[in-house]
């Protein structure tokens, strides 16, 4: 029997090609993902392990500088890491050296004034020379380190990117106006941030402190232990020297930092790996349909042969096993090919990333044993499991079938049971989804998730039933446009509903995901867009490109700019309000009316200037607040007070649930976190005002001056980027679906050889035959895509229902143009998939085909 199985594989090489390709692509995706993420993770951890080589203990102040988050900043006490702290630690018996580090965002402009590199990856630090004038951490390759204000040193990569030489004037900026400084030196470093393409600017200590922190303050202290002193012991010794402010200052040993770093890298790569693997498994799942379909078709074609085996004495078990062995052989061969291809993909990705120069660390290719095991196992299992049902069906062929002279298995098992199961699943799923969506909040997520899964499975089970009416809809059009070939194509497409369904399902899966993402993207994008821009009456929004805090100089400078009718900083503080810490947005009460357009559900904003608060509708509902009620507050300095509610406004994304006058905030926090500056122009929005605002920010390349449209564009860009990535990852499953269409068509052409021969004999020309096959392909593809698009819209609608509470004003937006595009593309996919089968069909020899055997 095994020999028969092997012979069968060899005899049907051509017909199994697409199946093998589908398995191969799926496993290649899995293996490629694993190889790439292992390689990437290894390179990252290698690179980062260097960064803490001379660190025994590090003391960090997370609230220092522009990189601190708003919450850390508002919760900080007055304590800081100062020269005194550094000296105290340096004087400890176990300390070999203690180094005060100043760090913070520092952007460097190229010669055209644009930011070099990414804003999140641009940093500044202090050059800390020893007595010899050198800093071992940053060895100067050219020139010397910065010694005074208006002197800087740059890392080699950044200097090369912009073409800066020692002696050039370079514009640098943190979160305030930019500074023109002289480049005194260029250094090399193995700092992983720089190695990975970041920018590092060195200042002398005083300048760094002034620019990035406050004079005399450090963001961290790096302590090196004397030989013989353990890291933990040193950390214990350092602790008393660090100012006490709750647990604000973090004291960590080098080992802890390394472990933490390794964990971060591992988490980062593993979440990337998980995401990629999800898409790889979607591809494999799509492959299942194709494999099952292929074996079903092969067995149908071999009915006589298998019946003969049964007639001469093979048992049912043996027939099943022979089919499974066939699947095993294909699975094994394809998985090995897939594994090899996957390793190739991993290497290719690495080379690609290296070539693009994103500055990702590089390292040797890692092919873990796990990768090999998983890829092979997954490939073989998927193939064999997919062939299981067809194999069992093969065993049910009666021996007497060997004697019958039927051309094709015309008897089709009734779909009644299948339809009943499908209807129950789909109906139950839809009901669950509808229920979940109606909850309007997080609690609906479980029913929606479960219901969507059930509905999807139900619809897949029902696809054969759906194929007839749906395809019948396009029937008249096909007949009108393409005559007889069109009519025949339509009928061929619904001829074997199971086969059509299995072929279309592969596309349906991909299209469901693609359109769900698209609708979600459009809906969320639209809601965020409306929420942000509807509340913004101002003409301009000024903010840091990397989302960090602005220097207080920025709002001050903008207020002085001519052409500005009104402006205000938007600040963010976290105070204890009522029962817990809440985020508060600060705005200048006097200009609030000109900058914000809030919809009040009750009360008004009139009290804002009198030290009263505004709350959003959600908070008002949950805390039963109405205009006139009061809310207790605990300030950062632990004094207490209370605020009266002036008005309740409709929730929007730009503001926190609580809004307060900046003047009121300043009473308790002299240096609050500034997120944005809103500007209303005297003459509305104008290009000249935009330029004036840019000038007011001191031409800082990292500060963006955005109009409402710019804000919208930025949001849509983020969503477009995310969508494009999803499309890219789903492309693989669509490719596999295309293989499925090719496969089904090729098999159908083979099975309908006689009919094609007859059609040719009675006068259908080659073009007509080609058109017939192509149209069948297009019909099946568009059918699969249509069901997918509808399902996708439905799923997106359901998910939106569960997010209503978290995103204000979320409504389902269906981008009809994109949906139409997807359907058109599916039609194109059908055309492409039919290319080879149609060609083959049109070249069939007439006499050969109609020959009765």
């Amino acid at each position: 029997m095994y020999r028969t199985a092997l012979r069968n594989v060899l005899a049907h090489k051509g017909r199994l090609l697409m199946t093998a390709l589908a398995v191969m692509l799926g496993t290649a995706f899995v293996a490629g993902t694993m190889v790439f993420s292992d390689t990437f993770g290894k390179a990252m951890s290698n690179s980062y392990s260097k960064s803490f080589s001379d660190v025994s203990v590090q003391v960090t102040d997370p609230a220092a500088g522009s990189e601190a988050r708003a919450r850390e900043k508002s919760e900080r006490g007055p304590a800081a890491l100062t020269d005194a702290t550094v000296q105290q630690i340096a004087a400890l018996p176990g300390t070999a050296a203690a180094r005060g580090v100043v760090g913070g965002f520092t952007g460097v402009a190229d010669k055209k004034g644009n930011l070099i590199g990414e804003a999140w990856n641009a940093r500044g630090a202090n050059f800390a020379p020893g007595p010899d004038g050198k800093d071992s951490r940053y060895p100067m390759a050219e020139g010397r380190g910065p010694r005074a204000a208006k002197e800087i040193a740059l890392d080699r990569g950044t200097a090369d990117k912009a073409g800066y030489k020692v002696g050039d004037t370079v514009r640098v900026a943190s979160n305030g106006p930019a500074v023109d400084a002289t480049l005194t030196g260029i250094f090399g470093t193995d700092d992983p941030q720089v190695v990975s393409g970041g920018t590092l600017t060195l200042f002398d200590r005083a300048t760094a402190q002034q620019l990035l922190l406050t004079p005399g303050q450090y963001s961290s202290i790096v302590v090196t232990a004397k030989p013989g002193t353990g890291e933990t012991a040193l950390a214990d010794a350092v602790r008393p020297a660090v100012p006490a402010d709750g647990d604000r200052f973090r004291i960590e040993t080098g080992q802890e930092l390394k472990d933490e770093q390794a964990k971060m890298v591992a988490n980062g790569t593993s979440s990337m790996k998980t995401m990629l693997l999800v898409f790889a498994f979607i591809s494999l799942f799509v492959g299942i349909f194709i494999i099952a379909n292929t074996f079903t078709m092969l067995i149908a074609q071999r009915t006589k042969e298998l019946a003969l085996l049964r007639a001469v004495g093979a048992s049912r078990k043996q027939v099943t096993r022979s089919v499974l062995v066939e699947a095993l052989v294909i699975g094994a061969v394809s998985s090995v090919a897939g594994l090899v291809a996957g390793i190739g993909i991993g290497a290719g990705m690495q080379a690609l990333i290296g070539a693009i120069g994103t500055g990702m660390p590089s390292g040797p290719l890692v092919v873990a044993p796990l990768t090999i095991v998983v890829a092979l196992l997954v490939g073989v299992l998927v193939t064999v499991l997919s062939a299981l049902l067809p194999a069992v069906r093969a065993a049910r062929i009666a021996p007497v079938a060997a004697m019958s002279s039927g051309d094709q298995p015309s008897t089709q098992k009734s779909l009644v049971i299948r339809n009943a199961i499908g209807s129950v699943l789909a109906g139950g799923g839809l009901a669950l989804v509808a229920y979940g969506a109606s909850t309007g909040n997080d609690s609906g997520r479980t029913p929606v998730g479960l219901g969507a899964a059930l509905a999807l499975i139900g619809v897949f089970v029902l696809l054969p039933l759906l194929s007839r009416p749906v395809i019948a809809l396009v029937g008249p059009v096909l007949g009108k446009l393409f005559g007889t070939p069109g009519k025949l194509a339509r009928q061929n497409a619904v001829r074997n509903p199971r086969r059509t369904a299995a072929t279309a399902a592969a596309l349906t899966i991909g299209l469901t995901l693609v359109s769900a993402m698209t609708v979600l993207g459009a809906s969320v994008g639209g809601a965020v867009d409306r929420a942000v821009t509807s509340a913004m009456k101002a003409d301009f929004n000024v903010a840091m490109a990397n989302g960090m805090a602005l220097s207080p100089q920025v709002p001050a400078e903008i207020a002085k700019t001519s052409g500005v009718a009104a402006s205000s900083a938007l600040t963010a503080v976290y105070w204890e309000l009522g029962d817990r810490t809440r985020s508060i947005t600060g705005i200048d009460a006097k200009s609030a009316d000109q900058l914000l357009s809030l919809t009040y559900t009750s009360g008004s904003g009139a009290g804002l200037g009198k030290g009263e608060i505004l709350v959003d509708s959600d908070l008002a509902r949950s805390k039963a607040l109405v205009p006139g009620s009061t809310l207790a507050v605990t300030y950062p300095d632990d004094t207490r007070g209370s605020y009266k509610v002036s008005g309740v406004f409709e929730k929007n994304e730009m503001l926190s649930p609580v809004v307060l006058d900046n003047a009121e905030i300043a009473k308790h926090d002299q240096d609050p976190y500034i997120t944005d500056v809103l500007v209303k122009g005297a003459g509305g929005e104008s290009a000249s005002l935009k330029q004036s605002l840019k000038d007011a920010t001191g031409a800082n390349p990292a500060i963006e001056v955005k109009t409402k449209q710019d804000v919208r564009d930025q949001f849509s860009q983020i969503i477009t980027f995310a969508l494009n990535m999803m499309y890219g990852l789903l492309a693989m499953s669509v490719i596999i679906a295309i293989l499925g269409v090719v496969n089904t068509l090729a098999m159908s052409v083979f099975e309908r050889k006689r009919e094609i021969g007859m059609l040719r004999a009675i006068g259908l020309d080659r073009t007509g035959i080609k058109r017939m096959v192509r149209l069948e392909s297009v019909v099946i593809s568009v059918f699969g895509a249509l069901v997918g698009v509808l399902l996708g819209c439905f799923v997106a609608w359901a998910v939106n229902g569960t997010m209503k509470s978290s995103i204000a004003g979320l409504t389902t937006v269906v981008p009809y143009d994109k949906m139409a595009l997807f359907l058109a593309l599916a039609g194109l996919v059908g055309l492409v998939a039919a290319f080879w089968p149609a060609r083959r069909a049109s070249r069939l020899d007439i006499l050969d085909s109609i020959k009765t055997d």
Partner: protein, 257 residues
């Protein structure tokens, strides 16, 4: 008796005519001559049967004359159109508009109804069927009540009648039937054969039928005998007995020579 007998000028115009037709397969040692200088005329309004033992070339002759196969040399005409040298597209059109086919295995499209199968050649050509003619054809083959049935709902005899109606529906110049009764029981076979004869007598059609069954051949006006790729004899107004008799003589001749 020579091969020239079959080419003797007959009354009526030729619906199809072959002159000096040769068909050779393979090269060198494997060279097989399927047709050896065959000349034959099928006059309009006549029912001709082509007979001969297996491998005599009767099917090949039909395929070559129907534009389904190419010839090695010679000429083959349908009406006034020379088939040799025609491109695939032109041949396809010629088959569509001027030739009807009936196959042994019925060869109906399972997805189409009986009526749709019958009008298929016209549908392909994008022509409307001649309603009157179509009704007459359908009535003659006795399918009136079953036009909306699909082939799987019809018996073998009924399916072959659909195939006959399809061949007739477009009023072709000539109908080629390849063992039309090969897959049928004798009663259904007889129905088909009388139907073919009626279509010649009453509808004025021209039918050429390949068969190896003397009973079937007896329905024809004329029987042309082929052996080893050559036309060896012909018989007018045949009966089953006379055909069988001729066949036996060939067999005997073949064994003694």
């Amino acid at each position: 008796m020579t091969t020239t007998t079959a080419t003797a000028v007959r009354t009526g115009q030729a619906a199809a005519r072959a002159t000096g037709l040769n068909k050779v397969y393979g090269e060198g040692e494997t060279r097989v001559v399927a047709l050896d200088n065959v000349s034959v005329v099928f006059p309009q309004g006549e029912y001709t049967a082509i007979m001969g033992p297996s491998g005599s070339g009767k099917s090949t002759l039909m395929h070559c004359m129907a534009g389904l196969d190419t010839v090695s040399s010679g000429s083959s005409m349908i009406g006034d159109t020379e088939l040799v040298g025609l491109k695939d597209k032109q041949l396809t059109q010629l088959r569509r508009d001027h030739i009807g086919f009936i196959f042994q295995a019925f060869n109906l499209l399972p997805t189409l109804t009986a009526l749709e199968n019958i009008t298929l050649p016209m549908d392909i050509a994008g022509r409307k069927a001649d309603k009157q003619w179509l009704d007459r054809v359908v009535e003659t083959v006795g399918l009136s009540g079953r036009l909306s049935h699909r082939p799987s709902q019809l018996s073998g005899g009924q399916q072959q009648r659909v195939a006959c109606a399809r061949a007739l529906a477009s009023k072709p110049d000539i109908i080629f039937a390849d063992e039309p009764t090969g897959n049928l029981d004798s009663r259904s076979g007889a129905e088909i054969l009388s139907f073919l004869r009626n279509s010649v007598r009453e509808l004025g059609q021209t039918v050429v039928m390949v068969t190896h069954d003397p009973v079937a051949a007896a329905y024809a006006d004329r029987v042309v005998f082929l052996a080893d790729g050559r036309i060896v004899d012909e018989l007018l107004s045949p009966t089953a007995d006379s055909v069988l008799d001729r066949m036996r003589r060939f067999d005997a001749k073949g064994r003694t020579s």
